[in-house]
Amino acid sequence: MSEASTAKHVSYLDYKGRYKGFLGWILSTDHKRIGLLYLYTMLGFFSVGAILGLLMKTQLIAPGYTIMGPQTYNALFTLHGIIMIFIIVVPGLPAVFGNFFLPIMIGAKDVAFPRINLLSWWLYVIGILIVLTSQFMGDGPPDTGWTFYAPYSFRTPTNVLPAVFGAFVMGFSSILTGINFVVTIHRMRAPGMKWLKMPLFPWTLYGTAWIQILATPVIGITLLLIVAERTLGIGFFDPALGGDPILYQHLFWIYSHPAVYIMILPAMGAISEIIPVFSRKTIFGYKAIVLSTMAIAFVGYFVWGHHMFTSGMSGRALFAFSFLTFLVAIPSAVKVFNWVSTMHRGSLIMQTPFYWAVSFIFVFMIGGLTGLVLGSLATNVHLHDTHFVVAHFHFIVFGGTGFAFMAAVHYWFPKMFGRMYDANWANMGWGVFFIGFLALYLPMFYLGIMGMPRRYYDYLPSFHGGNILSSLGAWVMVAGLLIIFINLVRSARHGQKTSEKNPWNGRTLEWQVDTPPTLFNFDEIPTVTKRPYDYEE
């Protein structure tokens, strides 16, 4: 017990457990350290993915061969997709901020299964390593795109097998995190924290965790079938053996569409935390946000067919999927309405997390509304597989999840590191990034409508203008990213030290514990009496 009592007042960053130094991190079962492990892994690979994207945009700055040929381009968009989807945005906010803050926000000392939590991170890393071997071994990097569509994924001579198997292993990591969070939320809420007194970020993690549990096994078995097709000659998706490639697309999107909500729900949760704090106002329509979270998680299961409008489906199925797609837009719009209403007549405090949160709403709306353009049947046929689609999902996945991730980093940074970042550099990074982002992706909508297809290294000269703007935007955006990253990394090591518990005047539990938190977060488990975000009293 002596170990426990000394741990009470030592920050989790300085705490010395059974292992020292680096081992003390990669073998730690402390949810906060695991959260940071995910953060560092993700930032590393995000940089790789961003550089790949930048190289592709540079190739597209002029028609024809600029810096790479078609095979390299195909390999790059495949790796870019695998990294950004499976390594970054699917684990995303839950793995980093969920791990770090879920237990603290619900008043617990750790997650329900700390050792399984560490196992999740290890599986994640092992999955990444397996994916990486696909780049350096066999007959060259995979060129299928991150979707691994059949039958090309087992006809191409490139090294698809490790990429698919690595994604399969990462699926396990995702499932275990989901199980851990659901059990944690069910069993470990502090006394008095009834379901409707739980903050909104944990609520969105709860919805996300259920999707992780119920959807990930589907991609698991689908990827395993691709492995079986390539190694054992089982032909479920191979027309030459009687299989049906369209069936692969169904199974793939049964997971991969709900996965979009795995990405965006926790992002919405983080935004729902930040908006009331920087408006100094109780969140508008708490219950509506909770309900819409669960509604998105539920309806999100039944819309996968909208990825396949041109693949061949019955007219009735097309109609149903289109209708359900429109339906899922409603709870998303409810959330936007709630955020804006929260800001209405609030005392807005213009600080970095709030800039990110507000710009999140802006880009999320563009991404969401263009999603409806794609969700309606007639326009979809025209826009399918064009740059319009690329712009749409980058507005959602990068504009949505990415902006919310940045908002969350800048919001929780002082609590996580016990240091403050340089606000001026952070704001400037945001500004440059935001301008670059819009310049990069907005022209793509136009190019898509004009008919520029995606996933080609070349294009017709008539698309040149838009592509110049888009490629320049990419460079500006990456410059913004550099400013942000350098500022954050520098501040994490040398920033102004702070032990202030509540720098933003937040109301949730993480702002009542020490900065940085001690090993067990709380000296005594708190009893919750108030609703979260109570500003009016």
Binding site: A4, G17, T29, D30, K109, D110, A112, F113, P114, I116, I175, G178, I179, N180, V182, V183, H186, R187, M188, I213, L214, A215, T216, P217, V218, G220, I221, T222, L224, L225, A228, L232, G233, I234, G235, F236, L241, G242, G243, D244, L247, L251, I254, F520
Partner: protein, 198 residues
Amino acid sequence: MLEHRDDQGAKLGMWLFLFTELLLFGMLFVVYAVYRSMHPEAFRIAGEELDVVIGTINTVILLISSMTVAMSITAIQKGDKKRALQLLGITLLIAIVFLVNKYFEWGAKFEYGFYPGAGELAELGYGTILFFGLYFFMTGLHALHILIGIGLFIYVIAQVRKDRIHQEDYIWLENTGLYWHLVDLIWIFLFPLFYLIH
């Protein structure tokens, strides 16, 4: 780290994991349903090639093993370590026998050339190819789960021996039991779909 113990929570976690298993196999059942509806006649004829006797034996012994593992939990709850070990031993034995039967069954199919990639199978048409593809993939994945179950039982038996699983703390045994029931349950669906529906 302070060990925090919550058996209810551990069981909830196990149930959630079982959901994921159901969905894993569930999608294979979907694939089965799709191809069965596309090739009903070929599936009917191919199904007659399977050995109903071995299938029935495996079904019966797997059901018995589900019973013995449940009984071993009751024995532990009553503090009867010896009886629990006996029952777990029987369960482990049955799991191994199941795999031995499977080995002979699969071996016979390979002899006749009824396996994916075999030249003989390729001549029998799409429906038959798909049937045997599904048969090997689904029973193979199920056999993998039996293998994992065997590993779990060996671990649990060792823990009971060392008194780490006892009357007051038997959540590992209980969760292993839950897992084993699921493996049993999936077989209960696989058996009629492949062996019985003609």
